[in-house]
Each structure stands twice: as C-alpha cells, then as structure tokens.
C-alpha cells in the first residue's frame, strides 16, 4: 500500500462502502473506549489518516504480549489497522531474519526518521553493560537508545516494558528497567498488563492512527480511556462487595454464588485496567468472572506486592504514611529508611498496610 494514501482512500479502493466505513468507525470508537458520540470525529479523522511506520522491538520478554495481540478477537478492525500501519520490524512476525531483518529496520528508521512509532515489549537489562539480552550482537540497552532517537513516540507494551515486570522482581538479577527509566526525551505511553488486553493494544494503536497523537495518560503513563478506573470499580461482583457478601474459600457457598473475591486476595481495588469490561477471549470472561481474584498485573512491581492470595494491602502515597506503615508492620527503622531511598515508584508499591473492608469503604 502506498504510504501517501489516506485510510479513506485505501478502504474505498478495497470496495468498502461509506456505510461499511461507518460500521468500522463505530467498532473502532468502541475499541478505543471512546463514547459513541465521538464516532463522527473518528470517521473524519480516519478518513484523512495516513499510514505510519511502526517498529516493534522485543527485549527481555516472554512473547506473551505478541501472543496476546495476535489472538485479538476483532480481526476486521485489527487487520484493517495493521493493513494500514506499516509494521516495518517485528522479529516474531516478520518473514525476514538475520541481516535482512536488521537491514529492514535500518531502512525504516532512515526513511521515517522522526516520524515512526516505536513499540517495545520486554524490559531492558542494564546490569554489566546490558549483556543479559542481546539481538544481532547488540544489547537491548543500546538498541533501545538507537531506535528511540528517531521515534516520534514510544508505546511500551506489557508490564515489563512499562514498569520492569517480572525481570524487575526482587532480586532483579539483570538490572531490568522500564523504557521510561532509560528514555526521557520522547513521549512514552504505557500499556501494562501481563499480558495487556489485545483490544487495548490495538485500541491504543488505533488512537494513534486516527488522531496522530497519544491519548490522555494517567500518572503512570497509561491511557485513561482503558486504565482510568479500577477493576474493583468496574467489576460486576461489586454489588456483592457493597452488601458484604464474600467468598471465604474457593469452594464455599459464596464462591459458588459468585460473591466478591476480596477476602481471597483479589487486587481489583488497587489495579487499574479494562479487564472487567473489555474482557478476554472474544469478550467471554476475565479472571474474576472465572472465579479467581485479580493479581494486579497492570501495576508496577506487582510480583513483589505479596502473595496473590494474601489479604489485600494498599500502597500509601506519602513519606509519613510509608514510614508509619512500615513501623506498624514491625519493620526495622533502617529498613524503612532504606525504602525511602529507592525511587518513588518502587516505594509506593512496596510499602503496604493491610486494610480491612471497612477501611476501603472509608468507615
């Protein structure tokens, strides 16, 4: 496809009618979690949208994010989006390998310098010069810096790229870091999740394709449209929580009746993601609907936040409370001060107080 053609021209060439285009826009607006009133604006923007070059780099990761993306259940929307973006490098999906693959990346970077979108999954090891993960003999650290230099914006897909993820978990043997820990001079959007919901990945790409900008972000760099509300706030089991109806074990009467999983360690109240509405597997279900609590995979350092089945704890958000929390928990003062020496993100997620349902309700 010619890069100069707009999406509207591209669709008409493929024999798609204006009504079909409006169907596409309605589904795309829904995919982007935009209100239906935005459909005309989406249509106007998509009509004029041009094809961006996308370079996808996979670093210290498990390929789960790509697996998630390629199992997206909305093939028409996604395939149109992917037909319309120029995915110039993705080492799992592309046919080329070795020198040919790296040459394709270099050409895409030169031809689209300053304009291409860089997508990253996986964390970046920094310890010992970053030698713990290399591609084509180049460390992930060097490669990220090189590719980021000419990018218009960066999308960090998955909790590893967004916040370090599993490789970042204690004791973090490779010195894993997030994209935003290393690159500070580019717009960066985080799409965390282990893996992220496929329609959220494509929704973010659709937003960039449609409007040419990144959507509005929260304080952790996540698009508010998908991460603006907690799992708890959007959970269909919330009415049980409000009525104090909880499953106490995974096979008791409450569990069978689908009551709230808060007491079984559900991290829904402290986790921000779209699972409760977007759901997984063609919108079929999500972990809580399957009877298991949320493990909080879209939050920083979720692996180090205590057991998945432990009573929920919430991060405190200022120094005084963190120290108080540590003291209440019986931690040594030195350890508490040690917490404060770590970066703010780390501290906020590591220092916890155990709370009760009444505490969360503000009683």
């Amino acid at each position: 496809m010619n890069n100069d053609k707009t999406l509207g021209e591209h669709l008409r060439e493929r024999g798609i009618s204006r009504r079909g285009f409006m169907q596409f826009c309605a589904a795309t607006a829904s995919l982007m979690a935009l209100p239906p009133s935005m459909v005309p604006a989406v249509a106007a923007a998509l009509e004029k949208a041009r094809r961006p070059s996308v370079i996808w780099r996979s670093f210290q990761e498990c390929t789960g994010c790509t697996e998630s993306l390629t199992r997206s259940h909305a093939p028409t929307v996604e395939s149109l989006i992917f037909d319309h973006i120029s995915l110039d490098y993705h080492h799992t999906l592309q046919a080329a390998s070795g020198e040919a693959a790296e040459e394709a990346r270099r050409i895409a970077m030169e031809e689209n310098h300053g304009k291409y979108l860089l997508v990253v999954d996986g964390s970046i090891p920094q310890k010992d010069g970053g030698i713990y993960s290399t591609i084509a003999g180049i460390t992930n650290l060097d490669m990220l810096k090189e590719v980021a230099e000419g990018a218009a914006a960066i999308i960090a897909v998955g909790t590893c790229a967004a916040y370090g993820g599993l490789p970042y978990a204690d004791p973090n043997p490779t010195g894993a870091a997030s994209v935003s820990d290393i690159i500070q001079d580019k717009p960066i959007l985080n799409v965390p999740g282990c893996p992220p919901i496929p329609t959220v990945i494509t929704g973010v790409l659709a937003h960039y394709l449609t409007f040419g900008t990144l959507p509005e972000l929260d304080h952790l760099g996540r698009p508010k449209a998908f991460y603006g509300q907690s799992i708890h706030d959007r959970c269909y089991r919330r009415p049980f929580y409000e009525r104090g109806l909880f499953a106490e074990t995974f096979d008791d009467e409450g569990a069978k009746k689908g009551w709230c999983l808060f007491k079984l360690g559900c991290k829904g109240p402290t986790t921000y993601n779209a699972c409760a509405t977007a759901k997984w597997n063609e919108g079929t279900s999500f972990p809580i609907q399957a009877g298991h609590g949320c493990i909080g995979c879209s939050e920083p350092s979720f692996w180090d936040r205590g057991g998945f089945y432990d009573a929920l704890s919430v991060p405190t958000d200022d120094a005084g409370n963190i120290l108080l929390g540590a003291a209440v928990a019986g931690a040594a003062a030195g350890a508490a001060v040690g917490f404060m020496n770590r970066n703010k993100k780390d501290a906020a997620t590591r220092a916890h107080e155990t709370v009760t349902v009444d505490d969360l309700n503000g009683d």
Binding site: Q23, A26, A27, S30, R234, P239, A278
Partner: protein
Amino acid sequence: MSHIQDIPITVLDRQGSQAQTGNVLPILNEIRYALALLVAKGTSTTIDLSAIPFAPGDREELERILGQGEVSALIDALGETRIRETDYRGVWLVSHHSPQGDNLATQIEVTRTPSLVSTPEQDIPDAVDALDDYLNSQLTQESA
C-alpha cells in the same frame, strides 16, 4: 477419573443473576432517561454496552427485558450489523460483527432511526451517476 459433571459449578438462572447483581436496572434507567430526552428535545443517545460491567447472564437478561419489536434490519457491508427495534419503541439494539461473525461492538441507540440505516449523503449523487451510466449503456446498446 473426574467427569465434567463432577466439577462443582453452579449455573445461576438468568433471573437469579439479574436479581442478585442488579447490574441491569441502571442500564434500563439510562435508557429511560435517553427516551425522555428524545421526547423532550429530539436528542438521540447511543449507549455502548461493551463499556458496561455485566455479570454472566446480564446481557441476555437485558435483551429479554427489552424484547423484540416490529422492525429488524440487516446491514451487510463490512461484516454484518444487526439492528432491531425493541418492545420499547425508539430503543434499538445494534450489534456490529466481523465477516467471521465475531461480535465487535453492541450498542443501544435511542433514536427514531439508527444512523447506519440511513443512506450516507454522498452515496445519493453517486447512485444518480451509477444509474445514469447504466441507462446510457442501455441506450448505446439499443442504438448499436
């Protein structure tokens, strides 16, 4: 060896699901508000059901309550869009599907006619041109 029937899964009936979670009533209230707005000011409203946290069975319960009205339409453009008016006039259920049949989005439109049913404005002059082309081709054939 365990059999699937040995797995202790309790399937709640649809009425039970609705009655216990109470997630359907807020949507019905939203539809009621949108209908009142349509009556008072002629303003149409679209509610995207994919943004609603439904419990298993809630969607079916909502559709059961809304019922089936007099009008149905099938748009076959980029995948199918199925449209039906519900028992409550002016309340339409619109579901978009991919060519493979996957549900991409489901919306409730509270309006006189769902927007996708109307012919796009630019298609009408195009239709005039297309019909002209056909008639001219017929004239050419007759004169040949």
